[in-house]
C-alpha cells in the first residue's frame, strides 16, 4: 500500500453490533491526511455508529481501527485516552455540558489536559470561540443559544485542544441553508488553517458536495459499504442504484422504472 503512510485513519473489516443485532459488517476504509472524508448513507445505516466506534464509545465486535498506524481498540484504556486526545468531536446536537456557560465548556478540556495558567486558558478559549464567531456569547448558557450557535459552540469545544483529527456528526442537520453554508465554509477554513483531517457523518447532499473530497457510502440493507469515493465522483460515476438514488435525490424504484424501458443509459 503506497498511501498507507499518508493515512490518518484506517478502518479494516469493522463489524459493529449492539448485543446480537449487527449494525454494520466488514466495513473498510481509510482517511487520507488533510482530506475531508464523508461517511454517507441513508437514515439508520449506522453512520453515527461508525463514529462512536472511532471515538471509543462502542467497542467493535470485530475488525480494527488504526489511528496513525496504532490499533485503537487493542490499546490499553490509558493509551486509548491518549489517542483520543488527537480527536475533536462535534456531536449531533452539540452535546454541550448544559450546567456550564459556553466559555466554561471550552475551558474544561484545557483545564483538564494542560498545565496552563488560567489567564492563558481564558485567552485560548476566547480565541476558539472567536474562530467560530461566538466571541460575544461566552457568558451565556447553552440553553440560551439557538441550534446553529450550539453547534458552533460544540465546534469551539472540539477545537479546544488543537486536535488534528476532527469528527463531525451531522454538522448541518437541522440548520437553515445559510447557517449550514456558513458552517461548511468554517469547516473548510479550519481544515486549511489548522491542517486537520476531518471526518464528516452526514446525509445533507449540498454540504457533502461542497466540502468532502473522499468518502464511503453505507447501505442499510446490506449493512456495509457499497461505494467508495468523494460525493461528487459518486454522483457522476457510481452505478449502484441506491447510491445513484441517494445522490440524485430520487426514489430507487422510480429510478429503475425510469431506466428500464429505455434499457441502459
Amino acid at each position: 500500500m503506497s498511501g498507507a503512510q499518508d493515512d490518518r485513519l484506517n478502518v479494516h473489516g469493522l463489524t459493529l453490533a449492539f448485543g446480537t443485532r449487527v449494525i454494520l459488517r466488514e466495513l473498510s476504509f481509510s482517511v487520507r491526511r488533510g482530506s475531508i472524508f464523508a461517511i454517507m448513507g441513508g437514515s439508520g445505516c449506522g453512520k453515527s455508529t461508525v463514529l462512536r466506534a472511532i471515538i471509543g464509545l462502542l467497542r467493535p465486535a470485530a475488525g480494527t481501527i488504526l489511528v496513525d498506524g496504532e490499533d485503537y481498540w487493542a490499546a490499553t484504556e490509558a493509551h486509548r485516552t491518549e489517542i483520543s486526545r488527537r480527536f475533536g468531536v462535534l456531536f449531533q446536537n452539540g452535546a454541550l455540558w448544559t450546567s456550564m456557560t459556553v466559555a466554561e465548556n471550552v475551558v474544561l478540556p484545557l483545564q483538564m489536559f494542560t498545565q496552563l495558567d488560567s489567564a492563558s486558558i481564558d485567552a485560548l478559549a476566547r480565541l476558539k470561540l472567536s474562530l467560530v464567531g461566538l466571541g460575544a456569547a461566552g457568558e451565556r448558557m447553552p440553553s440560551e443559544l439557538s441550534g446553529g450557535m450550539r453547534k458552533r459552540a460544540g465546534l469551539a469545544r472540539a477545537l479546544a485542544l488543537d486536535p488534528d483529527i476532527l469528527l463531525f456528526d451531522e454538522p448541518s442537520a437541522g440548520l437553515d441553508p445559510i447557517t449550514s453554508k456558513r458552517l461548511d465554509d468554517l469547516i473548510l477554513e479550519l481544515r486549511d488553517g489548522l491542517g486537520a483531517t476531518i471526518v464528516v457523518v452526514s446525509h445533507e447532499l449540498p454540504s457533502l458536495f461542497a466540502i468532502c473530497d473522499d468518502g464511503v457510502f453505507l447501505d442499510a440493507e446490506t449493512r456495509t459499504a457499497i461505494a467508495h469515493g468523494s460525493p461528487g465522483a459518486l454522483r457522476e460515476g457510481c452505478d449502484h442504484p441506491t447510491v445513484r438514488a441517494f445522490m440524485t435525490r430520487a426514489r430507487p424504484e422510480q429510478l429503475t422504472a425510469m431506466e428500464d424501458p429505455h434499457g441502459r443509459r
Binding site: R52, G56, L57, V89, F91, A95, W97, T98, P109
Partner: protein, 366 residues
Amino acid sequence: MVLHLTGDWIAQETGLRDAATVQRVIAEAGGAARLRFETGELGRWDSALVAFLHALRRAGAATAEPAMELDDTGLPEAARRLLALAAEAGPSAATPAAPNGDPLLTRVGRRSIANWAGAVAAVALIGETVLRSLAALLGRRVWTRGVDVLQSMREAGAGALGIVAIVNALVGGILAFVGAVQLRRFGAEIFVADLVGIAMVREMAVMMTAIVLAGRTGGAYAAQLATMQGNEEIDALKALGIPVFDYLVLPRIIALVAMLPLLYLYACVVGLLGGLVVSASVLDLTTTAYIEETRRAIAGTQFALGLAKSVAFGALVALAGCHIGLRAGRSAADVGRAATSAVVAGIIGVIALDAVFAVCANALGI
C-alpha cells in the same frame, strides 16, 4: 360483488365501522374474488372511510382463500390515493415487534441477567470509589475538580439546612410528646430527656437526615446524570478522555460523605431543642434540669455511632443516585424513572443499613 357505501363516514361523529363484520357477511354469502364499490350515496368522509377500507383489505387478504381483491375504481379519487399510500407502508406494519412473544423462561432469564449485570455494576462502582478515593488520598492524579466538589457540597449541605431543621425539630418534639404522655403515668417525667436524647443522637437524627437527602440529593443526582446521558454530555466527556467517574461521581460522593456528618450534628442539636421546647411546655420541668439530664444520658459513643452511620448513609445515598443515573436510558421517561428509583433505593437502603448497624451495635454492646 358490489359494496354500497352510503351516508357520512366521519371518525368523530360516526366512529369507525367494523370491517370484520362486513368480511364475515361477504364470506357467508359465498365469498367474492373481487369487491367493487358503489359510492353514489356516499356523504362526507374522512379517515374513518379509509381506515375501514384498509382493514377490509387486510381482512380480505388474511382470511379469504384465494385473497379477495378490492377494485377501487368506484371510490373517490382522494380515498383511492390514500389507500394506495397506506398499502405502500403495509408490509412493515404487518410485522409487529412481538411484545410478549418470548416464552416465560426466556423473559425470566433475560431479567435475571439484567439484574445480575446491574448488581455487578453496583459492586464495580463501589470498588472504583474505594480505589479512586485511595488514589486521591495517596496523592495520585485524580480528574476531580475542587470547584465541583464545593458546588456539590453547597447544594447537598447548605441547601438542606432548612428542611433538615424542620424535619428533625418535629421528630424531636414528637418523641418528647409521646414520651411525656407515657412517662408521666410513672412520675418519671425527667426521663423524657433521656428518651429524646438517646433516640435522636443514636437513631433518628441520622436516619431522618439521610432520608431527606435521599429524596433531595440522591434523586437529583440520578436525574442530573440521566439527563446528561440523554444529551450525549457523558459521551462528550468520554470522547475527550475525561474519566466519568472522577469527574461526575467522585465529587458527589465526597460531598455527601462530608456533608452528612455535619448535617447529622446539626440535626441532633435541632432535634434536642425540639424535644426541649415540647417538654418544657407540656411537663413542668425546668430547662436546666432537662439539659442536665440530656447531658448525662448521651455519651460520646452514641455520637460516634451516629457519625459512623452518617458517613455510611452518605456514601450509600450518593452511590445509589449516581449508579442509577449512569445506567438510565435516554428518554424523558427514563430520567423520571431514574429519579424515582434512586429515591426509593436510597430510603430503603438507609433503613436496611440502619438495621444492620443496630444488630452490630447490639452485638458489640455499644
